[in-house]
Amino acid sequence: MSQRKVPITRLSKFFAEEDFDLDISMGQEWLHGDMNFTFVLYRVDRQRTKKDDVYGEVVSEGVQYRAPIELKGYVQIEAPTNAFMGNSKIGQVEPGNLKIGIYQSYLDEMGVDIEFGDYIGYYEKEDRVRYYSVADDGRITSDNRHTYGGYKPYYRSIVASPVSNDEFNGI
């Protein structure tokens, strides 16, 4: 990222940095204080993980993780789909994807980045957690939807797909 900073002056006649910060803080207060959707992020330690030399696949029980972090965001879970596995006749109900909207400022404040391939655990009940693998870490936030009225990007959309527990089953 460039070290040189350029002030954002667009929309300045009726919207400014103070307004932006105020709205973001109000949104965070609602999301974190009122809604309080929490999930656990398991970041794969890409340096210490033992992987296959040829295929880069992790060997059995070989994944190493950094310390899990509890985060807050806006969580949506899609509806499950009922389908055969490939062309086999073995049917299954595939759980829906997990979609998370999370404030970028919150991630910056926590000093955390969510990356492709990290795992997310979401407690559906006290004793039931489902794990997901990040399939889209939402790092590109240049589109209009992720900006506040075209002023500045302020959140990321994370898409994670469910994993079977032979791939990841918590730490």
Binding site: E57, M85, G86, S88, K89, Q92, V93, E94
Partner: protein
């Protein structure tokens, strides 16, 4: 350094049979635990044989564990697959990779097994074996006949579901080693059934925002045949009766005394002692009884097989095994007699 090929690394404790002995061994395998007839094979037997072939001959290990197989042909009844997969499910009760499943294409066309082409038409039964029989007296054979088996080609898709490429490699190696000569054999109820590897294809789920896993499909064709035991026929063949004579070693000629010829006519006298007015006699021959005279008899009645025939009749026709009863009315107390002559018919 590798050993030269001519050096045997292992020695068979039981020498392998060849030629006629091997053919006899094959026949013994077919007839094991059964009759002299071959065991019938149906669609279900072929399917079971394929499942066993996948489970045993294509057994694959990953991370020190056997990759489980779904040990049924998946059908329209959804519950049945659960019974075979419950021990490798995840928390959603979905089947958890890695596993191997066998899918049968429902249609079963006429087969291409070259040894079973159209040679005997119209389900005509042909000679299979002659089996000796002995019932204690007669020695014979039963002729066993069976119709020509019907060749069928059944296509199976064996699919492996894994999360790692090395699992695919292991299964692929097992299959290609087994089918290095394009076909492999499995034994189903004592019959050798060839299986041909047709094609290998990939059906992996690689959508970026879905759960990803590898699926590889191995298409096999089983060149099987159907044999319906209900069409087998066992019929008695030639019988030989064995009659034995015991002959004394010391032959002595015995002079036969001449006997008078049996007469065709002889007297039959009936004596009614004092106090008795009834006599019954079962005749062992057919004859006509002619009345000659009576003594101290006022009248008499005749019954044959308890059926009244008549009074004071002079000729009585008697058949073999007839029970003839005479009832007399005496003139005075004392003995009475009826004198007849039997003339054999």
């Amino acid at each position: 350094m590798a050993l030269p090929k001519k050096i045997k690394k292992t020695i068979d404790l039981i020498p392998k049979k060849t030629g006629l002995d091997r053919r006899i061994q094959l026949l013994d395998d077919i007839q094991k635990d059964g009759t002299y007839l071959p065991k019938g094979i149906g669609h279900a037997d072929l399917d079971r044989g394929m499942l066993d072939f996948v489970k045993e001959d294509l057994k694959t290990f990953m991370d020190g564990n056997t990759v489980p197989t779904v040990d049924i042909i998946i059908t329209t009844q959804n519950w049945s697959q659960f019974t075979e997969t419950w021990n490798f499910q995840d928390l959603d009760k979905n089947v958890k990779p890695p596993f191997i499943t066998t899918v049968r294409q429902p249609e079963v066309p006429y087969g291409t097994n070259p040894s079973l082409q159209y040679t005997i038409p119209n389900r005509k039964q042909f000679y299979y074996a002659k089996v000796p029989t002995w019932d204690g007296q007669r020695k014979g054979v039963d002729v066993y006949k069976i119709p020509q088996p019907i060749p069928v080609d059944i296509t199976y898709n064996v699919k492996i579901f894994v999360n790692r490429m090395r699992g695919l490699n292991e299964f692929n190696k097992n299959v290609l080693q087994k089918f290095s000569s394009r076909q492999a054999y499995t034994i189903i109820k004592g019959h050798y059934i060839p299986i041909v590897l047709n094609n290998i294809s990939d059906e992996s789920v690689m959508d970026i925002d879905k759960r990803k896993y590898y699926i590889q499909n191995y298409e096999f064709t089983m060149l099987g045949f159907l044999m319906d035991e209900d069409e087998f026929e066992v019929s008695p063949g030639v019988s030989r009766a064995l009659t034995m004579f015991e002959i004394p070693q010391l032959n002595k000629s015995v002079k036969v005394n001449p006997q008078p010829e049996n007469p065709n006519e002889f007297p039959v006298d009936l004596l009614f002692v004092s106090g008795n007015t009834e006599l019954s006699e079962t005749f062992r021959y057919s004859a006509d009884l002619h009345l000659n005279e009576t003594f101290n008899v006022d009248s008499f009645s005749v019954y044959i097989n308890n059926d009244y025939v008549g009074d004071n009749i002079t000729k009585i026709q008697v058949n073999t095994n007839d029970l003839v009863k005479f009832v007399v009315v005496k003139k005075s107390i004392g003995e009475s007699q009826i004198f007849t002559t039997a003339k054999l018919i």
